[in-house]
Amino acid sequence: MTALDAPVPDGADLSALIARVAASRDRTAYAALFKYFAPRVKAYLRRAGMEGAEAEEATQDVMLIVWRKADRFDPARAGATTWVFAIARNVRIDHLRRRNSGAASTMPELDTEEHAPSAETLMLADEREERIRMALDGLTDEQREIVRLSFFSETPHAAISSALALPLGTVKSRIRLAMVKLRAAIGNDS
């Protein structure tokens, strides 16, 4: 079977692979995680405004943290892609700081899972991810693009304005509209 035919792992597969890395430093499992996540993490970092070499280095940083912190992954709290997204976001923030300060990072390695989980969180991780998937599917194409750009752009307001040809002044209210539609799914009623 060529690489192209290999099935794309689903969330449960990815969680199981992380668990194997945590339990026995399993490098075969790690290679499979790497194959799935590294190109997606790099795509994320590129969209977030990193040039090729920096995105490459940051991708390596993310994947190293996946290896080192695999034992901190708790599938009851978050799905595999959610966990890796949080790591990638924090590495992105750290690289931005270094770029802006021109110095080596003085920041202790960012922790990704610092909050004690609430009982609700423990019960609902799977269900929450399913609800979010459905809520995202329920958005219009424009709203989905707004949410995507909110997560993936270095300057979301400017990016949304230029991608959707919206005046900057209306971007905020469009983000709000999209978020209101997601709100039910993400459990924020305020």
């Binding site: 997606r40 994320y44 300060s101 752009s153 978020m179």
Partner: protein, 210 residues
């Protein structure tokens, strides 16, 4: 009970990693005490995860995997030593939020009658305008507006801002359209606040004859 939370837009920016470092620390301080906002941030992380999974993979350089393999067994750099933190006299039972554990914290300075200020410096983002404010009972924070977003997390006591009361755990969010003069509760108030774009103080401008 917590009644005032960050707006959903601010939580979204925090989850996306696009909130500036100063406001991000204030939102963290709030979320550490607010199960509702923690749940929202978890859900927003899951949204980011879902979107990450949908991205078209970007090509890696040929040796990326080998380079990472070579680094797997190298121990990470040691953590820097804890930052300098002045021991601020805080009311009994009040602790600084865990979100400040890596911040440098200065001693209290007098800034106005009944108002004291302690500079909070983030070693990784030293230009951020972050502070602890201690306002005496019944005192007003001088009337001000802002060049950008202001986040205020109540650590102890409380204040009124117009018709709204803010107590421990509440986060107040104001922007460049807000001009206000919060009034501390009778027992006083201690807050963690971040300011973007500087503070506009009409009384100070008048005083300086500008």
């Amino acid at each position: 009970m917590i009644r005032h939370h960050p707006t959903l837009e601010t939580l979204l920016a925090h989850a996306a990693g696009t909130l500036a470092d100063g406001p991000a620390v204030v939102v963290e301080a709030h979320a550490q005490g607010c199960p509702q906002c923690r749940a929202t941030l978890d859900a927003l992380d899951a949204t980011g995860g879902q979107l990450l999974g949908e991205l078209s993979p970007a090509p890696l350089e040929p040796a990326t995997f080998e380079r990472v393999l070579a680094r797997l067994d190298v121990s990470p750099a040691v953590r820097p030593s804890p930052p300098r933190q002045a021991s601020l006299a805080l009311p009994q039972g009040t602790r600084l939020p865990a979100a400040l554990r890596n911040a440098q914290i200065g001693r209290w300075f007098w800034v106005a009658p009944g108002v004291r200020y302690s500079r909070v410096r983030l070693p990784w983002a030293p230009a951020q305008n972050l502070m602890l404010l201690r306002v005496g009972g019944g005192r007003r924070v001088p009337h001000h507006s802002h060049g950008g977003m202001e986040l205020t997390q109540v650590l102890w006591g409380g204040f009124r801002d117009g018709d709204d009361r803010y107590g421990p755990g509440d986060l107040g969010e104001a922007d460049e359209t807000t001009a206000h003069q919060p009034l501390a509760d009778p027992e006083g108030c201690i807050c963690l606040a971040s300011l973007e774009g500087g503070l506009r103080l009409p009384w100070l401008t008048r005083l300086l004859g500008k």
